[in-house]
Amino acid sequence: MANDEIPRRHFLVGAGAAAAALTPTAVPAPAEAQQKPAAPAAASGPEGYLTLTAPEAAFFSAAADTFIPADELSPSATDCGVVTFVDRQLAGAWGGGAKMYRQGPFAKGTPTQGYQLPLTPREFFAAGIVATNAWARKTYGKDFDRLTPKERETALKELESGKAALADFNGKQFFEALLTITMEGFFADPIYGGNRNKAGWRMVGYPGLPAVYSTLLDDYRNKRYVVEPQSIADFS
């Protein structure tokens, strides 16, 4: 676990401008490093990102690990590949605004009218991270990913409740998108880069594929069905 963090930190430090200000003590101590994980992370650390910048990757990692910290139930979100998942989602068609109506004019609207920003998901997360970090610097004197685990928790609660006053950006809306994509990364089929070693599925006891239960439904009536979970890749 801790070893997996080393390449990421090196990557951050080597990433130029954004990392230039980082000193070794300023690099965040990942929450998961402070606890004994349940199981070793299945895959190695980051294999490079398609679209996320180093500060963005650090932000997602810090947020996702606050949502899903390492404990006896699962490794941390980052160790489960959630940041890789986010990166691939944002780099792909969905991140680029596929299946969205994007014609103007753009107006604020009511909550029941839904998303009305001109931003694609990729652009929305980029803008949200900038706005959240600006708010974090004003409130805590540091970017979000450099807060202590306790501070991150507090900051996310402020975003969730709508108390955090982000400049020209809806913090609550950003929070909801952040939580959603984190949960998707933790529970989606591992083929997307998250849910490594089916950690999310193991946590709840979801068996994945092939999901052919016509006889098992009766065999396991009021009896827990426990199997080694299988994913799309296991059948491909």
Partner: protein, 589 residues
């Protein structure tokens, strides 16, 4: 300049349930038929195969089988005083995007409407008097009775291989089936699916309280089944991926399984995909249509397809929008109450229910199907006495497990944080031990809920988007409150360790979260052209060779899901065309 093509006898606009049923019936009668479909072709073997069909992210959350709003969406507002804004992402409802339509990703619930639903207004007036109907509740009768439609309900049952248990066979009530349903001429084609443990617990508790639970009817074959077309459906595998996804077992009925293999081999039928119909060519003086204009979405080229008859068989919104863009039907005005096109848009009351947690019970929530559930109709429709209740309509309940897909299904007791260590503990603890009573309510028409054209926003072809003005009204909230209390009573009788506060909302309708793809109305049927767009044979009053299929013809929406009557009406209209219209083309009423 559109390229003019060779005339055919009939054109279908959309190749979902109704387009494929109508194309099949008309080609059998000897007509040449073209099916125009905006989306792509699909086959279960190629598109719904293991392992990739078991992909919750792709199908449930990225909406692989759902209409792309970048092509066409609608604008929405809760009330006429607001400015409507575009639905930029699909959410509340999910029309389909390919051959097979929404039936590729439907959940399969297969209902008939009650006899009293077919006579909505006159039944209420007869039983309670006209004064119980609020002034702004614009409900009206269907244009045919349940008994008239029954043979076509029956035929559609046999096309789909519906699984269930009759509760009323030719007038004889049968305990264990739905005793409130209208008389059936035949038992269901297939026996009910196996029930989940949660369904059996619900059944027991409901019976002890004096209610009448029954297996939820479902278009998943419980066993291999050969339908009336000679095509074979497989047996349900209880995979828990029915809704929003395709069926790899060919057990879930849909046009791709139940009809298309025959149409593909039919020389009189031509399927033309990626063909987006932009408008009908309307001869107002002659009161008929002469064909359609469509765009090939691969090239942008425009074509005119002349036809002796046009069948609108798109989703609800596609049918309404094509009538607006073709100048057929007088647009509805909520201020004067005049006009009919866009009138009586209705939906379904969803997002209601009661979640229960049972320590010591193992549900394996990923094993199941929407039909592996027990349903309850005691407080649905007019199955109970509404005297003094102050509302009309009701809700149907269902309890079972149909979906343990973990991105979306993560029940935790209320008060649990949504993330962090406590959330993890609760999620891991309760995933196997929760059950839900789902409650879906009727939605009766209101004069302020309607559809017209948006003044600002356009679709990809440059046509104005439809504008939806819709909100819940007092009758809806009262239906929710009354029926959810009954659901909560049954939930308590199931003796759970804990129970979450019943879910319902008093606020405005919200177009963001998924609720149901059960939109109705806008091109409603009726007995005269002043109050309806189509007559009892779904023939447009304003164009005798134009037939409008689907739930856009429903004057209001009961609590049931609409696919059963949608299929029945397609068979009913097809028979009227073949036996009446072709012999003497002209208005049938």
């Amino acid at each position: 300049m559109a390229t003019r093509l060779k005339e055919v006898d009939a054109v279908m606009v959309g190749m979902g349930w109704t387009g494929s049923i109508m194309a099949r019936e008309l080609t059998k009668a000897g007509l040449t038929v073209i099916g125009l479909e905006r989306g792509e072709d699909m086959t279960p073997g190629e598109n719904f195969a293991l392992p990739n069909i078991r992909d919750e992210l792709k199908y449930t959350h990225r909406l692989e089988l759902v209409q792309d709003p970048a092509l066409e969406t609608l604008t929405f507002r809760n009330r006429g005083s607001e400015t409507a804004l575009p639905m930029r992402r699909m959410g509340s409802f999910l029309p389909g995007n390919s051959v097979g339509g929404a039936a590729n990703h439907w959940g399969g619930l297969h209902w008939r409407y009650l006899p009293s639903d077919h006579l909505c207004r006159s039944h209420i007036v007869n039983r309670y008097g006209a004064k119980v109907i609020p002034e702004d509740m614009t409900i009206q009768d269907w244009a045919m009775t349940y008994d008239e439609l029954e043979p076509y309900y029956d035929k559609f049952d046999k096309l789909c291989g519906v699984s269930g248990k009759a509760g009323n066979l030719r007038g004889q009530k049968i305990p264990g089936g739905n005793i409130f349903e209208g008389p059936r001429s035949n038992e269901y084609p297939n026996p009910p699916l196996k029930m989940t443990e949660s369904a059996l617990m619900f059944e027991k508790a409901a019976k002890e309280l004096g209610y009448n639970p029954f297996p939820q009817p479902i278009s998943n074959s419980s066993r291999p089944y050969t339908n009336i077309e000679g095509l074979t459906l497989g047996a349900c595998q209880y995979c828990g991926h029915c809704d929003k996804s395709g069926c790899e077992a060919n057990a879930k009925a849909g046009p791709l399984v139940c009809i298309m293999p025959l149409l593909r081999a039919e020389p009189k039928f031509t399927l033309r995909t990626r063909s987006w119909v932009s408008r009908l060519i309307y001869d107002k003086a002659a009161k008929k249509v002469t064909g359609v204009l469509y765009t090939d979405t691969r090239t942008g080229e425009e074509y005119e397809q002349p036809a002796g008859m046009v069948v609108l068989s798109a989703y609800v919104f596609g049918n309404i929008s094509l009538l607006f863009h073709s100048g057929i039907g007088e647009p509805y005005d909520p201020v004067t109450g005049k006009g009919v096109l866009g009138k009586n848009y209705c939906y379904q009351l969803s997002r209601m229910g009661v979640t229960m947690f049972f320590e010591g019970k193992e549900f394996n929530p990923f094993m199941g199907a929407p039909g592996a559930a027990m349903a309850l109709d005691d407080v649905d429709g007019d199955n109970f006495d509404h005297s003094g209740l102050g509302f009309l309509g009701g809700s149907r309940f269902a309890c079972g497990h149909a979906d343990g897909r973990p991105i979306g299904y993560r029940p935790v007791p209320s008060g649990t944080p949504r993330w962090g260590a406590q959330w993890k503990k609760a999620t891991a603890k309760w995933y196997h031990h929760a059950a839900n009573i789902a409650v879906s309510g009727s939605n009766y028409a209101n004069r302020n809920n309607y559809i017209d054209l948006d003044p600002t926003y356009k679709d990809q072809l440059g046509r104005p988007l439809l504008r939806l003005t819709y909100n819940f009204v007092e009758n809806d909230y009262k239906v929710m409150e009354y029926t959810i209390d009954v659901a909560a009573k049954i939930a308590r009788a199931m003796n759970p360790t804990s129970i979450s506060p019943p879910r319902m909302r008093r606020g405005d309708y919200d177009i963001v979260p998924y609720q149901s793809t059960h939109n109705t109305g806008g091109t409603i049927m009726g007995g005269d052209p002043k109050g309806s767009v189509v007559n009892r044979y779904l023939q447009a009053w304003d164009a005798h060779n134009l037939f409008v299929m689907g739930a856009s013809t429903f004057p209001q929406q009961p609590a049931y899901n609409p696919t059963g009557p949608v299929g029945a009406l397609a068979y009913w209209a097809a028979e009227a065309i073949i036996t009446k219209y072709l012999k003497s083309p002209g208005p049938l009423v």
